[in-house]
């Protein structure tokens, strides 16, 4: 048995050597072959595929909720001005409105840089009661305007697409309206309505070329004309730079 096994081993040595020679030749000719020799994982470097931007955004100072009006920019009387230095737009804010992270009763005085691409501007909502779900507050009469970054090639696959063109002064925007059921999903009827508006940006965030500003203004479906007018005024006074 031992002799037989030794014989098989000698054959195997020759075979392995021959295969190795042929294999090296094939590799030399192909030069780029990456055929798998054995199933196994490809090294994946945590954080190495794309640089996590949350840490990068942290290098920007918090933005004050109220900033001086730039030269040539106007807001309605008694409204304040907010400058978003990450997304490069300014916004006029009605009196009594403010930004919130939903953690405290009062509007934020300063906006952490990490939030600047996903803001909530609330109206008729202060003092805010932490723990309240925003959709519940909206159904009770609050207004929640979400200000998000919309990548150049992004769409909403499961609800209305802002495609209706509207000219607001010199600003040309796309908009649509969507109703939501009690489960918060798109529905034919519902107590909650969102006006979605896409506003073009001149510069946009540095890490998202071609991005636009997406405003999602959520109100009661039965919102008053005055409330709706205020929403459109906020959109109209967006100042992209």
């Amino acid at each position: 048995m031992a002799t037989h096994r030794a014989g098989r081993r000698a054959h195997r040595v020759v075979m392995v050597a021959s295969i190795a020679i042929i294999g090296v030749g094939i590799f030399a000719l192909a030069a780029t072959s990456e055929e798998a020799s054995k199933p196994g994982p490809v090294p994946q470097h945590e954080g190495g595929v794309i640089a996590p931007p949350a840490e990068a955004a942290a290098s920007v100072d918090p933005a004050p909720a109220s900033a001086p009006l730039p030269e040539g920019v106007t807001c309605p009387p008694d409204w304040s001005y907010f400058d978003n230095p990450v997304m490069h737009y300014g916004l006029c804010i009605p009196a009594g409105w403010g930004f919130s992270d939903f953690r405290g009763p009062d509007p934020l005085d300063r906006i952490p840089s990490a939030m600047l691409e996903n803001l909530h501007l609330l109206g008729n909502a202060f003092p805010w009661r932490p723990g309240t779900m925003p959709f519940d507050a909206v159904r009770r009469g609050a207004t929640d305007i979400e200000l998000d970054v919309l990548p150049a090639d992004a769409t909403s696959s499961d609800e209305c697409q802002p495609s209706t063109k509207r000219l607001l002064g010199i600003l040309s925007v796309l908009s649509c309206e969507q109703l939501y059921g009690t489960d918060g999903l798109p529905a034919a009827t519902g107590l909650l309505r969102a006006l979605k508006v896409i506003v073009p940006l001149r510069t946009g965030p540095a890490d998202e070329p071609g991005a636009r500003l997406l405003l999602i203004a959520r109100t009661r479906t039965a919102a008053s004309l005055a409330e709706v007018t205020t929403l459109w005024q906020i959109v109209q006074y967006v100042h992209a730079y």
Partner: protein
């Protein structure tokens, strides 16, 4: 054994010489061969070593029945304040949406196992389409949609819509039994894929093994060592995938986690038998044995889990296992596998 040693020395000198000759003849450097399996799973979608609290557990409101859509009934909310979200599994992005409704901005990845994993309330997505790898940064958490504080909503489902059926997260969290990390306690993800929770016996053993090997550069596959390198699952339950607790055969239950060594970036594995308090590093040369079938099963079925670390023995390297041992000749790139004390098979792999 003496014959084998002689043959090993033949291999030690003859094979390298032939390889060098072949190399000179071709005069062209050989391309490096890579493994191409693109799988790999993580435990949680946040950075390993960070403490995170699960603020809403499966079945709890607002994910509770009657309030939430079916797909979210087994979801979790994780306290993540505008932080990088990592894909837990390889797959393809099936949906990127800036929804005005409850989910806000969300990403959905179709997992290699056919399920859909959804990451909601994002402030922004870093990728919007195409394939993703486990551990790839895919988004930044936030508070879009119906969100009362910045967090990550994380769920699995059996279809792409919000009305699909919810799938359990226990294949991701662990065994789903006592001590499962799906609790409100602050949880540190080792993202090692093994362990009941971060201070549990399994996880501690795994962490110690990582430390003993000099740390890891990348986590690879947590595998069922039953057949090939498929994601981990019980053999008896095809529909219930258990990525982090494998029981290929009654009596040899345990887990394996592949990784890449922190200093050399070479493939290694950590193996631990169920009930054991120590996990052992298995080097590539010996690890290779486990992916080779023998009598219809991979080798672990026959030889069991390691009972010690690799050590020098009579000019070879040896590692003992529950039902046998493996000798490895690192110069000849040969492994000899023994069941009990009987030589049963051999493989040819170098230790890299």
């Amino acid at each position: 054994m003496a014959d084998r040693a002689v043959r090993s020395r033949v291999l030690r000198f003859a094979l390298p010489a032939l390889l060098v000759a072949a190399f000179i003849l071709t005069s062209t450097p050989a391309a490096e061969a890579h493994n191409s399996w693109t799988g790999g799973y993580r435990k949680w979608p946040w950075r390993g070593s960070d403490d995170r609290t699960l603020t809403t557990l499966p079945g709890e409101c607002p994910h509770c029945p009657g309030v939430e859509t079916p797909s979210a009934s087994k979801a979790i909310d994780v306290a993540m304040n505008y932080e990088t979200v990592y894909a837990v599994s390889p797959g393809t992005i099936s949906t990127f949406s800036t929804m005005g409704g409850k989910a806000g901005t969300y990403l959905q990845v179709k997992d290699a196992d056919g399920s859909y994993i959804t990451y909601e309330h994002l402030s922004k997505a870093l990728v919007k389409s195409g394939a993703v790898l486990a551990g790839q940064p895919i988004a930044v958490s936030g508070c879009s949609g119906n969100c009362d504080v910045a967090h990550l909503h994380f769920q699995r489902q059996d279809g792409p819509t919000f009305y699909a059926n919810a799938l359990s997260l226990t294949p991701i969290s662990g065994h789903g039994g006592s001590g499962d990390p799906l609790t409100h306690s602050s949880y540190t993800s080792d993202n090692a894929g093994i362990g009941y929770y971060h201070s549990g016996t399994f996880s501690t053993a795994i962490q110690n093994a990582y430390k003993s090997s000099g740390g890891y550069k990348t986590i690879g596959v947590t595998a069922d060592i039953g057949v090939g390198w498929s994601p981990c699952r019980y053999e008896s339950g095809i529909s219930s995938w258990w990525r982090y607790g494998c029981a290929p055969r009654s009596g040899i239950a345990g887990s394996v986690q592949t990784f890449y060594d922190g200093s050399t970036n070479l493939e290694r594995a950590i193996m631990i038998e169920d009930g054991a308090s120590t996990a052992y590093v298995v080097y590539r040369g010996i690890l290779a044995a486990y992916t080779d079938p023998y009598n219809g099963h991979d080798w672990v079925y026959w030889i069991g889990y390691p009972t010690g670390s690799r050590y020098s023995w009579n000019g070879w390297l040896r590692q003992n296992f529950r039902y046998g041992y493996v000798l490895f000749d690192q110069w000849g790139c040969v492994e000899w596998l023994y069941i009990g004390s009987t030589w049963t098979a051999e493989n040819h792999y170098c230790d890299e």
